[in-house]
Assembly symmetry: C2
Homo-oligomer: 323 residues x 2
């Protein structure tokens, strides 16, 4: 049994952000129209962390895809990735395993790409200023995604530790000469921002509702869990909220769940899905503040992994391992 192996380097070399954002357009449209089977993930937890198993099937790609991804916060102190993972791809006609792929880079890229799609669909076309909260593993792709879809002149970067923001801006400046990256500590600058992206591990809001401008698009892609929220409740309540997957969003997002439980959001609260916005070109956003709350979905992994497989064939990347 021959299986192709794709390293982190292979994935990074083959799949770029602009293409990944295009893929998210199709993937979320397919998810919202029921064209991809994406059952609830299985989780196994011990004292150190959780391993998540996220299988999905796409007739269009003719592939089964399963991401096995671990979330082990303690790894940060062990010089190990906090969310190491592997993707297993099986052929749709024979069920044969065809590829194994490093999942960490791909996960970060596709999470950025979802932000790119949401920003493209919801932010002002002439947006010029953004804020990014968080400078961790996901931050680079979040920045790249925003820059892909809007001609930003200035991005303010916030971190709990300002030296991280300084380092991040310096590192990112090398790739982004057209946009000024500014380490920020004073949230007064938020009033200038057309886009705010939060990619932190914070369990509590990273800004207050009165600090943001009247018209703004927010991507909330960090902290996930019923007791965690990066965004103030007041902001959620006056915003048009969009999610990647309604069922998962309403079950897992700490931005939404508590507000439904305490009656501040109606029990039948049904935010639009990103894919529904893609499918319905006439979708009208009713409110000046928009929030994209991402839980992450296996269809994103499948779309990106399938593309890597395709591109690798043309590029001759990857190695064959005999099982």
């Amino acid at each position: 049994m021959d299986v192709r192996i794709f390293t982190r380097d292979d994935v990074q070399h083959l799949l770029k952000m602009p293409r990944a954002i295009e893929l998210m357009r199709d993937a979320f449209a397919a998810l919202s129209s029921g064209r991809i089977e994406s059952p609830i993930r299985t989780t196994l937890t011990n004292d150190h962390g959780t391993v998540l198993y996220k299988p999905t099937w796409s007739a269009a790609q003719n592939l089964f895809c399963a991401k096995v991804v671990s979330v082990f916060p303690g790894n940060a102190h062990k010089d190990l990735p906090v969310t190491p993972g592997i993707i297993v791809l099986n052929n749709g006609e024979t069920g044969m395993p065809v590829a194994l792929m490093e999942a960490g880079f791909l996960t970060s890229l596709r999470t950025g790409a979802a932000t790119g799609l949401a920003t493209d669909l919801l932010a002002k076309p002439d947006a010029s200023t953004a804020a990014l909260f968080g400078t961790g593993g996901q931050a680079g792709h979040q920045l790249e995604a925003m820059l892909c879809v809007r001609d930003l002149k200035r991005v303010y970067v916030f971190s709990r530790h300002n030296e991280n923001a300084v380092r991040f801006c310096r590192e990112m400046a090398a790739h982004n000469s057209n946009c000024e990256l500014i380490p920020a500590t004073n949230r007064n600058v938020l009033t200038e921002c057309d886009i705010i992206t939060t990619a932190t591990t914070s369990a509590k809001p990273v800004f207050s509702d009165r600090e943001i401008p009247t018209v703004v698009h927010i991507n909330a892609i960090g902290s996930l869990g019923p007791n965690r929220s990066e965004i103030p409740a007041e902001t959620i309540l006056r915003a048009t909220v969009v999610v990647d997957h309604r069922e998962a969003g309403l079950r897992e997002a700490g931005e939404l769940l508590p507000l439904m439980n305490d009656g501040r959001l109606p029990t039948d609260f049904a935010p639009a899905e990103l894919g529904e916005l893609v499918l319905n070109k006439n979708y009208k956003v009713e409110r000046p503040v928009t929030v994209f709350k991402s839980a992450g979905n296996a269809v994103q992994d499948l779309a990106c992994a399938a593309e890597v497989l395709k591109l690798a064939k043309d590029a001759g990347r990857g190695q064959t391992v005999k099982f």
Copy 2:
């Protein structure tokens, strides 16, 4: 990220039947006493087949294990394995993927090993004659397992196509000089048998109740599904039935489910688990006919995969692939 890769040859070289049977003793005891977390598997199905995702966690082994196994019947005509699979092992302390393993050989071996354990626990100590129905991919390990736990002098081998039985007996005779392997077409010989093992894809019983002797142990490891039964209802109704996992057995086994639905077995029918027999040395089998109905469980995969990982370290088998 470095991951060890183990091929079919590695697994075959490292793990032998006697050790696998020992492992099943511990694994089923752990399952029955709730020491292993083994959630319901996820299945994805298309027109060609099904891919099953079976994750499990064992504190004792300090490993997460997921078997991704496909069941694609059409592969038989494509010169491809009908149940190709890969096992993913993650470390319990860091969540890091540590190994990838060919799953086909291991699945066949561990299924045989369960039969070995059941036979050891339930068949007459002085059993000398057995019958084996089926000569497919699983049959070799089923035969080997019976021979491991009982000093059999004679095994009758049945196949839908007698030439397969002839071929199987010839091939197996090379490894089993102490036991006479006899291709059989006449089920009259069943009255001589102390053990009967069925490992077929038949949806209907492969013998009738009046053809078997008064005292016999039966291993039913083939056909699985609510509408499939290799064993006659009459035999089930007069036997002591043992399963690997009660919940799965009562949900999936066509030998049991229909009998509960039509009232021939009580609605609270609760067959013993193999692990309960291991844990309770004083367990008394009440009836002269015993049936072990196997659905297969992820704990078997975990136990065997963990052992391969351990043995490989000492033996220097496997290769490291950088992801």
